[in-house]
Symmetry: C2
Subunit: 713 residues, 2 copies
Amino acid sequence: MAQIDLSIVIPLAILAGLGFAGLLTRDVLRRDTGNDRMREITAAIQQGARAFLRRQYRSIAIIAIVLAIVFAGAIFGSAVAAGKSNAVELGLKTAGAFALGAAFSALSGFIGMQVAIRTNVRSAAGSLKSFNDALVIALRGGAVSGLSIVGLSLAGVSILYYGYGALTPASSQNDLVLSIVGFGFGASLVALFAQLGGGIYTKAADVGADLVGKVEAGIPEDDPRNPAVIADLVGDNVGDCAGRGADLFESTAAENIGAMILGVALLPVFGIAGVIFPLVARGFGVLASIVGVYVVRAREAESPMAALNRGYLVTTVIAAILFGVAAWAMLEPTGGAADPWTWARYWACGIAGMVTAFLYVWITQYYTEATHRPVKDIAKASETGPATNIIAGFSVGLEATWLPIIVVSGALLISYWLGQTTGIAGGGLYGTAIATMGMLSTAAYILAMDTFGPIVDNGAGIIEMSGMSQEARRNMDKLDAAGNTTKALTKGYAVGSAALAAFLLFNAYLEETGIAKFGVNIAHPETFIGGFIGAALVFLFTAYAIRAVGRAAWAIIKDVRDQFRENPGIMAGTAKPDYARSVDIVTRSALREMVVPGLLAVATPVAVGLFFRFVRVTPGLLAGEPLGGTLMVGTIAGVLMALVLNTGGGAWDNAKKFIEAGNLGGKGSPTHKAAVVGDTVGDPFKDTAGPSLHILVKLLSTITLVIAPLLIP
Amino acid sequence: MAQIDLSIVIPLAILAGLGFAGLLTRDVLRRDTGNDRMREITAAIQQGARAFLRRQYRSIAIIAIVLAIVFAGAIFGSAVAAGKSNAVELGLKTAGAFALGAAFSALSGFIGMQVAIRTNVRSAAGSLKSFNDALVIALRGGAVSGLSIVGLSLAGVSILYYGYGALTPASSQNDLVLSIVGFGFGASLVALFAQLGGGIYTKAADVGADLVGKVEAGIPEDDPRNPAVIADLVGDNVGDCAGRGADLFESTAAENIGAMILGVALLPVFGIAGVIFPLVARGFGVLASIVGVYVVRAREAESPMAALNRGYLVTTVIAAILFGVAAWAMLEPTGGAADPWTWARYWACGIAGMVTAFLYVWITQYYTEATHRPVKDIAKASETGPATNIIAGFSVGLEATWLPIIVVSGALLISYWLGQTTGIAGGGLYGTAIATMGMLSTAAYILAMDTFGPIVDNGAGIIEMSGMSQEARRNMDKLDAAGNTTKALTKGYAVGSAALAAFLLFNAYLEETGIAKFGVNIAHPETFIGGFIGAALVFLFTAYAIRAVGRAAWAIIKDVRDQFRENPGIMAGTAKPDYARSVDIVTRSALREMVVPGLLAVATPVAVGLFFRFVRVTPGLLAGEPLGGTLMVGTIAGVLMALVLNTGGGAWDNAKKFIEAGNLGGKGSPTHKAAVVGDTVGDPFKDTAGPSLHILVKLLSTITLVIAPLLIP
């Protein structure tokens, strides 16, 4: 058979994804918003979230514009120096792709959060009627986020690919794809700052509200007398919705571009079909996710996770079938006595990626749910005080790196081997790219589950603050617990896909710098040093990220204490606290604190690259090698550290919840107090530093791709 | 000029080192042992320490013998399979070298501890007379340890080199040096288990004694009513003396062998002088350390650190001069129009290593002393409770990786560059080897300062338990504080030298597997996976090591509670607790807990090597490459993690001490309670997992060197 052109799937999937997101938005917005008190609370949350996002985007825009000018100028300059005739074009194209990536990333974070802060109150109002209503509304609100993000990512890459192609029809596929790598870098950059700023905000507000509210003043969580309570609810949105949205936007975009670069290397084999296959596969994934979201319905007796898992299973099965269709139609080697089962081998690579996603979800559950050994160990260790709780939790986090690494290693090895069996030169690498596509094909559904988390978290807060019925509270609390699980799962998924995507992007970097043929020899001292610095960057970045939370928390604690002192009516319940003031203070300090770690992540690879462009002592060392070491070892360290932080944080959280459920002395016991310490330590680990590290890993890849032309003397 | 044969320095230095150690032992043993009560306490410590060491050595011996048979058999088998005529000889030589390395490592730990447990009471008795007496006795007791360890390490390598050379005069220098790599592996293996078992013991006893004594029963530290108090004092000896002794024994041995392997590669340039230069340089270092120890005297008004630092400076200056003499005499290229300044360039490499040692000591002080920002930050963060104390301390530990990595990178780059400027092919690598020699040339003095720590710690405990005068207490407390600093400094020194030595050993591995010409390409999926596993091994090992402390502590806590319940006379002070029972319980559980992490460290590189010997998918992949990835990335991760654990732990400890000195509320305040949590968390970090990681890093190197012949299909 001959290849079948499935490129029509790309625009169809973009339209279907964004269109369905629009329909879901209309569906959600039509729903009941409860009573006045609920609307009042949600209005305060919306106001705070919008104010934060507005300021944050302004800060990020300034940073992005400066960096865009610097990088585009440097690329233009190096092209001029190299005597390239298309220097202006290269500079402009990179800047354009960067701007679109940054803008779309910001836009997808914005959309997701706008819908989430409207869905929270509607899901809460739904819980007054039935459990199913609350669940379906929250998931659909989350799906708006998931579908817009993946749709926009696909749209951005496609617009650039076809648009730049139409602008300069004479340019090679290679130049074409390379001119759009700026998109991935723009997306990473915005994602990093969005996640960092949001992550610092959310945990500073959380820690601050808890320490001064629960511990000092002795009032319960979500008590309306606490001036920081709205800041805390705002934090769920700006940290979890906007942050993770930008993260996965970036993952899907970077993975698409990386796979296309490898597709270009296979032009003689698959022709143009190999280049656009990643886009088609992503399109099919969007379609599968739409079906998955649509089928979720809760049965009254079952746990919400069962309903959500059903949707995930449906999405995966449909995605697997469509993936096979795409491979069968497009991955037929053109000409030559090629292996007729090539498509099936690559399909199997895609399946390997999907299995990896499943295993990651399963492993995360094992390490962070109270039904298994690790969380129980931490709870037990809390009996001898906070110190043993911390040691046990940290130990669980460290241990939880092992299985994920084995799984991702297995996926890499199997997909590389399957790709090799096609007999195509470079076919192994393309196999690992396809495994990454497989893993990310369900991204839209996973994102929907993820955004579900902060929506129901907010919903539960609104129900609590407005003093609703026990029934409604029970419903929302059940959903809130499920939301904690989905948030943990998504992080596992995000870090696994980051590891796979990074390997892919790394090879794209080697292709581009022309060192693929020679390799990155870590025995060269410069490369070894590059690797050392890559790993140390991860450690230093983590240090700054978690410290930033402490500093920003300090600011809000001070404000709450001041408010209690200035106006004694607040604690008496006769006066309303100034919520906006707390929101404002934590906004300003979170944005201030995000700058240093963010710039550190950008500056380090640039510094390593440029330093070793000029200082090289090993004879025969290639110009891009030391930065290759930084990239690879930084990726390994980043993935491992993210696993430690995410899993440790999640396990501490659930050990505390396990005790609160009445085990080992229950709420208020010394054991519980010890577990609260672990939970507080885990907050910045799992919601600030961990998720930011996923993005750091991918930023390392995209930034090295962008600066690669500067490294060749 | 022609080369001058300085090989006579080797036996002279061994004799001088061991002889001076004997003289110092006689000097120390002659000193006064105080009163009966003091002698009674020290007898209990000696009994416990000997019982632990006896059992520990029995366990290690079983493991070592099994492994020796397995490895020697495998090497014999692979040599037979390869049709080598000298298969029996190779197998026997490897086994012999392994046995000698294991035995000497054990012996040096044994000597150090035997002297330390006799010096403690004499230093305490000295403090009754004068401050200077207490200091000089403790340092000289420590120097016995330092000089014996370095002397035995040099003796072992020399005996094997000259002995095997005499046995089979026909074998090439290459075969000769390779036949002694088993010495390094034997030393690493014993060092790992000695440090792990001792580290688990010491911290389990410490945490257990504190939790149940200070927190539950409300009695002060070192109170004789606490049944765990002798176990705690025993722990200082078996953890710090025996453990670190084995660690640095291993460092110096592995560095010598690695440098000799690189020297063999330069045979055409320097002849045999390049091979034995490392031994001569080490010999001169021993002589310099003897002078350094001899000149230390405390002036009454100054701090003990000033006196110790003076000795360190003297040692470094003399070592630097002698190093220059050795380079001038031996590193003259034979024949050809060689650069006459070759020796000076290599001398500068050695100086670079010494500067690195100085900088490490300085950086460690910055991060762990209360006079600087990091420790103050942690103390301040304790005001908002244990959670913020933990976050701040962890953040300091993470941050503290950055400067050391820059320093070690600089040392590598500069020494490689200096070596390159000689114009000798492979001269760059030899330059990094010489920098490592420079860094380790002061090892004997550093070790003396290190063992000084547990001696004065014990001494202070003996003074406290026997109720001596305020004057004596003040003297010993001042020394105890200095001992904490020297222990922290030595760890910084050990981790820095581990990083340098690992790069050296890695290149020796490449030489041996014959992949030096091709390199270790981390872009190959198998190598990338190997790297991933190397880093994950570090994380998993850390998880097990710190968890082991928790488990062993649990056992001793249970015992102390039981003793208090069974015999109420203990708390009343009318009955003596059963110290031996506590010692016995913690001995058994520490030895049980050391097995899993220890075997994990041995099994992982073997498993990676063998797996990828058979499963390789990348065309052109070299057999040893994936394990090379494990080694290099594991080294990077291990060094960074050790820095986090050592520095974080030290900073927590001193933040607590800063508060206890009367700052921020002082002892007993909520701030102090929060700081105690951090200190307890830091204990297994800095005294169990961290120091064990140094050895893990070097074990990775030596084990890969030993199994290298098995990896070539």
